[in-house]
């Protein structure tokens, strides 16, 4: 529920209760005032009637004034009473306030009743109720108008800032553009948000810089280790232990080097906003990359089939496209079984690569994460698909990975509007 609506709801509930109390208060006080007033009037009238009787005038005017001569002397007390009388003319009962006195005038006993027409209690009550309901309705109308106005004017910067906050991403590397407001709370929120996003960006940048620097700093010692080991290799040790240790040093330095390069690439993908793009015929590109891998495919006696549409063009960064396609194709060879199969297809914007292979031991989605591999091997860094995924995300390319009928199937949709 929106804040404004919540506040309004509370406001309306409380107002309604107050109005209810008001309704009763007004009703009872008006009722009291009216009966006080009419009672006073009735008393005055009765006095006047008595005076007239003394002068011998019997001023009767039923049903408002009734004078009855009594046989016996009564000493009843004067009494006020509410009553209803059926009126012939109106054919309905009307409410009256009556005052009855017993007087002895000129030695005759009289019962004098004076009446005055009363406002009916229901009428009074409903009149007050209607007035209050109208006021309440007007209040609601005004409140909703105010709400709409405030939502549009006062809350606008708040909602806009909220939208910016939702769209804020550390990857995009730009700070939030926030709107000023003339409401103190919103302004305080704005400053807090601006400061928070600045801080987060700064931390993020320094973290990225650190990992970038670290990777580059690592290159030199790795280079020294590799070079020294290769220099030692020239000695042609006859001791098999020494040469196998040396080979192991070189292999691991190589692995470290490759790992580092992949991490540099991943960091670069995360920190770079824009890579220059060009129009590329996707089918040709795929053919060329497959061609590069001929030796690897042959050495494993893999059968490769392709069905590539040659005219489909993409707008892409050349290097990144090569990296993504190479990773996918190289994976399909590396994780294949000897004498296995690869099928590569490009139909419109859909690129599919399917290869035979062992059943995956993990949830397929895990392979898109860093450092996920079936088994540790010299040639698997566990970064290949993470890099592909990152590149796909950058260009808004949908990527799916399935294992169907003994085949690993990866599908990329190069058309972002479809899917």
């Amino acid at each position: 529920m929106k804040l404004l609506n919540k506040i309004s709801l509370y406001y309306i509930l409380n107002t309604a209760i107050l109005f209810m109390l008001g309704l009763f208060a007004i009703y009872f006080s008006v009722d009291w005032i009216i009966s006080e007033r009419s009672d006073g009037q009735l008393r005055d009238t009765s006095k006047e009637i008595t005076l007239k009787l003394e002068r011998g005038i019997k001023a009767e005017y039923p049903p408002l004034i009734e004078i009855k001569e009594l046989v016996n002397e009564n000493h009843f007390k004067s009494v006020f009473k509410d009553t209803t009388i059926f009126l012939e003319a109106e054919k309905e009962n009307e409410a009256y306030r009556q005052y009855t006195i017993y007087k002895k005038v000129n030695d005759r006993n009289y019962k004098i009743t004076v009446r005055t027409s009363l406002i009916e209690k229901e009428d009074l009550f409903s009149a007050i109720l209607i007035i209050l309901i109208i006021i309440l309705a007007l209040l609601l109308l005004i409140l909703s108008l105010i709400n709409r106005y405030t939502a549009r004017k006062i809350f606008k910067p708040f909602y806009n800032n909220l939208k910016h906050l939702g769209m804020f991403s550390l990857h995009k590397n730009d700070s939030m553009i926030l709107e000023d407001s003339n409401i103190d709370e919103f302004n305080e929120l704005k400053y807090a948000l601006a400061e928070l996003s600045e801080k987060a960006l700064k931390e993020y940048r320094s973290l990225k810089e650190f990992s970038e620097d670290l990777s580059h700093e690592l290159q030199t010692p790795v280079a020294v280790i590799k070079a020294k080991a290769e220099l030692l290799l020239q000695k042609e040790f006859t001791d098999a232990e020494i040469s196998s240790n040396l080979q192991s040093i070189i292999n691991n330095a190589d692995r470290l080097d490759k790992l580092n390069r992949s991490l540099i690439l991943l960091t670069k993908l995360e920190t770079t906003d824009f890579f220059p793009t060009q129009k590329i015929l996707l089918g040709r590109r795929i053919e060329r990359i497959i061609d590069n891998y001929t030796d690897a495919i042959n050495s494993k006696e893999i059968v490769i089939r392709t069905n590539l549409e040659s005219m489909y063009e993409v707008e892409f960064n050349e290097n990144l496209l090569d990296i993504a396609l190479s990773n996918l194709i190289s994976n399909s060879i590396k994780h294949n079984i000897p004498r296995g199969e690869i099928f590569i297809e490009l139909k419109d914007s859909i690129f599919m690569i399917k290869n035979s292979g062992k059943e995956p031991k993990q949830n397929l989605l895990n392979y898109f994460k860093r450092f996920t591999y079936e088994e540790k091997s010299q040639n698997s860094l566990g970064l290949g698909l993470a890099i592909v995924k990152k590149i796909c995300n950058m260009y808004e390319i949908g990527i799916t990975y399935q294992f169907i009928d003994g085949s690993h199937t990866l599908v990329l949709n190069f058309n972002k509007t479809k899917d």
């Binding site: 580059h216 290159q219 030199t220 790795v222 280079a223 020294v224 280790i225 590799k226 070079a227 020294k228 290769e230 220099l231 290799l233 020239q234 042609e236 098999a240 040469s243 196998s244 040396l246 080979q247 070189i250 292999n251 330095a253 190589d254 080097d257 490759k258 390069r261 540099i264 590069n292 891998y293 030796d295 690897a296 042959n298 050495s299 494993k300 290097n319 190479s326 194709i329 190289s330 060879i333 590396k334 091997s377 040639n379 290949g384």
Partner: protein, 225 residues
Amino acid sequence: MKLILIEDEKDLASTIASYLKEEEYLIDKAHSYSEANEKINLYEYDCALVDLMLPDGNGIDLVKRLKERNQQCGIIIISAKEAIEDKINGLNLGADDYITKPFHLAELNARIKSVIRRKHFDGGNIVQLNELKIDIDKREVLINESAIEFTRREFDLLLFFISNKERVLNKEAIVEHVWGDNSSAFDSYDFVYTHIKNLRKKLKDSGAKDYLKSVYGIGYKFTLK
């Protein structure tokens, strides 16, 4: 041939220098921008290896200076950064090649030779070794003056071996040079053996001597001895 090696990491510089020593180059080492600048002003070099990130200056400026001093000087940039902008910038300023750290010494050696060949032998870019004659630009191999067909990989292998003759080459360096980035698709480097076997057979069948020797557990060596 006079080389200058501009590299602030002394350990790496001395390792490179001792690897290259056998090529009978005269090697000057410089460990800082100012030292390199001084040497460039004093001497003329046939080839320069320049690290871009130096503690007291940018190697790019040294590339410019080297070019101004001697158009014939072959320049190879050594960089820890695989930044394409640096690469393009360096090559635009007159550098001949660009190699990223870490690299195989054999790879560096082959690149130096290639740069020197391009710069200092006018006319054909040709390597001659006994009965072998390789025209690099035409990608042609002549054995005893008759042309022999080699596949692209075999040609690359042969040239890499000749550039690193009398050196032990491990499989990693060979695969990386010949197959480049595609090497990651291989489970093992055993297939190298098949290619080298074919190369050896072709050389032998065409009347060349058997120069290729395998070094147990490590790789191969091209030797005239």
